[in-house]
């Protein structure tokens, strides 16, 4: 492992252990405040809805290429996950948060088993044919790639799959 990756992972653990550090870190990052907010009301009762998950916690299939940890500005690409994916088929590649708990139970960042339990209870109609994994630590020119290319492509695929609603979870 490179020194840079070791440092990123160590920093990630401190940020989880000391929330005050996280507050300081997030103040150093500038986000443009959006003027308008897109809005689409739910079109049918929840019990008739098929839901997809999108996470920025660095989740991908074990056989898919991991997210690029060498680029300090992150990796704006995404991984398409099958709707029927099992928790044990997944892994996390993301050095910028401490995912030892999520490695134990992926549901804390990608609640696929919990969602299926709600389907079994009849509270939602089903799980979408695909879910999507991103890594959240994206900076500089990769933000443009995310906003103009990869995220719109995922939006297009979610439309293709006719999902009724999307639940997004961060790292």
């Amino acid at each position: 492992m490179t020194l840079q990756r070791w440092w990123n992972q160590a920093l990630a653990r401190w940020l989880v252990r000391f929330p005050a550090l996280l507050a300081i870190w997030s103040r150093t990052r500038r986000f443009r405040k959006a003027e308008t907010i897109p809005w689409m009301p739910l079109q049918k009762p929840l019990i008739q809805c098929r839901l997809a998950l999108v996470t920025t916690a660095g989740v991908h299939l074990k056989e898919q290429p991991p997210f690029d940890m060498a680029d300090p500005n992150g990796d704006p690409s995404f991984r398409e996950l099958p709707g029927a994916v099992q928790a044990e088929q997944l892994r996390i590649t993301h050095d910028y948060y401490d995912h030892r708990d999520a490695d134990q139970d992926i549901n804390i960042v990608f609640p696929i088993d919990r969602l299926r339990e709600l389907v079994a209870l009849g509270l939602i109609a089903g799980v979408a044919p695909h879910h999507y994994g991103f890594m959240g630590h994206i900076d500089k020119h990769h933000v443009d790639t995310l906003v103009t290319k990869t995220a719109p492509e995922v939006a297009r695929r979610l439309r293709r799959d006719r999902v009724d609603a999307v639940l997004l979870t961060p790292a």
Binding site: P38, D101, A155, L168
Partner: protein
């Protein structure tokens, strides 16, 4: 995450997210979010805590149904590791509401 959420909503799909960094969510302004003052890497809670994870999930789904204005951030009341979850009661309540949802 909020940027991705906005782009998905913009193609006509309702979205909701879990935020654990409220200041960022306030700036990015996704259509709907629940906020939890919980540590990074734990948006649904702790490993193996099914009742806790499902409780958050139900609150998230409920917001999908009840939100009436764009940009809503609903603060969830759960304290980190100092909360008891009564899932059976919550599920009954959710089922009753689900008829209307």
């Amino acid at each position: 995450m909020g940027l991705i959420q906005r782009l998905i909503e913009a193609v006509g799909i309702p979205t909701v997210s879990v935020s654990i960094k409220r200041d960022i969510t306030e700036q990015v302004r996704p259509p709907r979010a629940v906020f939890l003052k919980w540590p990074l890497g734990h948006p649904l809670g702790e490993p193996g805590q099914v009742d806790q994870q499902t409780t958050v999930l139900l609150d998230v789904l409920e917001l999908l149904v009840t939100a009436t204005e764009p940009g809503v951030i609903r603060d969830l009341p759960y304290r980190w590791r100092r909360e008891e979850y009564h899932l059976a009661a919550r599920l009954e309540q959710f089922k009753l509401a689900a008829g209307a949802l």
